[in-house]
Symmetry: C2
Subunit: 189 residues, 2 copies
DNA sequence: CCTATTTTGGGACATTTGGCCCTTTTTGCG
DNA sequence: CGCAAAAAGGGCCAAATGTCCCAAAATAGG
């Protein structure tokens, strides 16, 4: 069931106790959200970690009426705006559901409680942030050291769902180039 | 003394117990490193978190004989390659001391022990990674949404020490442009 | 199913960027 | 202090990228 998938996704290769798992699963709430629904707005303090049981979503920062995507999430991924959620401060950006999605949510309060009661849960949270940091490092490396064309090829290889499910405009911005440039790259066979 | 500065830097706005502080300070070791010394090589498993008590350092990834800087550290900053240290896996990149520096080091084993004995220390480690993640997010935003010229202006404003202490080549790569382009930007008054 | 709206892809042109190369300046080291 | 090596800065040209624009295609909503 979806709560377990959420838990397993957080657990990764770790083997947390069944007690933790049971507690965790009790706390998770299910939400169905329609396409184009915004679940977090800039300025709000994020009260949830979500698991995208089904669907597609994006985090972006708004700048001069343009959306600058920071992250795309596919099914079975954990969504969390690190700064806003863990520090409980206003978010810089938005999280938007891009197609009808099923979300599993756990609140900050519940997260804190699990952390207090289960040191191993704390570890899982740390790993989550570490993984996100590592992903960011790789993205920065790509943005500073390979061409837009190579970045697009990499995206196609590692996250083709993004290319399938998003507009050219957003993909281009995500890759750090204009729509025109991405079109040219795609036109080259 | 330097051990305390290290501790305070990790503590940030938190108020950890004196007991933790004492334990921590006992574990810290001081190292003096000369210019151009590499304290971590790609492929090695990082065994330390460092505090740069004095000096200047850089993390970079090597690619086709070029150095792609990921991060620069100034005095009083905490240096840690998140993935290699926390997961104890081989590092992707290098950490190089760019000018004679004083480092305070704490080993993985000691870190683990503090984490086990002091839940509050665990929190500090989490905050450290969260902050790094937040910094990475901002950098990605800049790389995808503002011009090289604006990025340079921002760097000058927010981390002028990098501009003062590093070569044009490295700054340019850090900003995601060629040396030629950065020279042109600087030539514009 | 049809219409209004959005998205896409490409042409023309201007601008920016990068590679190559050379000279000058700075730095490191004996 | 002086020499060798490295870094900086800029000229020239080619390649790439971006802006503006429009027509065709795809999509959304009634």
């Amino acid at each position: 069931m979806e709560n377990e998938r959420f838990f397993n996704s957080l657990a990764g290769t770790n083997k947390p106790s069944n007690e933790l798992k049971t507690q965790f699963c009790k706390m998770v709430e299910k939400e169905i959200r329609p396409k184009n629904h915004t679940i977090l707005k800039a300025g709000q303090i994020c009260d949830n970690i979500w698991f995208l049981a089904q669907g597609f979503a994006m985090a972006y920062i708004e700048k001069e009426d343009r959306k600058i995507p920071y992250c795309f999430w596919n099914e079975n991924e954990v969504m969390v705006p690190v700064n806003s959620f863990f520090k409980q401060v206003p978010a810089d950006g938005f999280i938007e559901i891009m197609e009808k999605s099923t979300l599993m949510a756990i609140s900050y309060r519940n997260m804190k409680q699990l952390s207090a009661n289960f040191p191993e849960f704390n570890l899982l949270m740390c790993h989550l942030v570490e993984d996100m940091q590592y992903a960011s490092e790789k993205r920065i490396f790509n943005l500073t050291s390979i061409s837009a064309e190579e970045r697009y090829a990499l995206l196609l290889k590692e996250a083709p769902f993004i290319v399938r499910k998003t507009s050219v405009e957003l993909i281009a911005t995500y890759l750090g180039v204009s729509r025109k440039t991405l079109n040219r790259i795609r036109a080259k066979k």
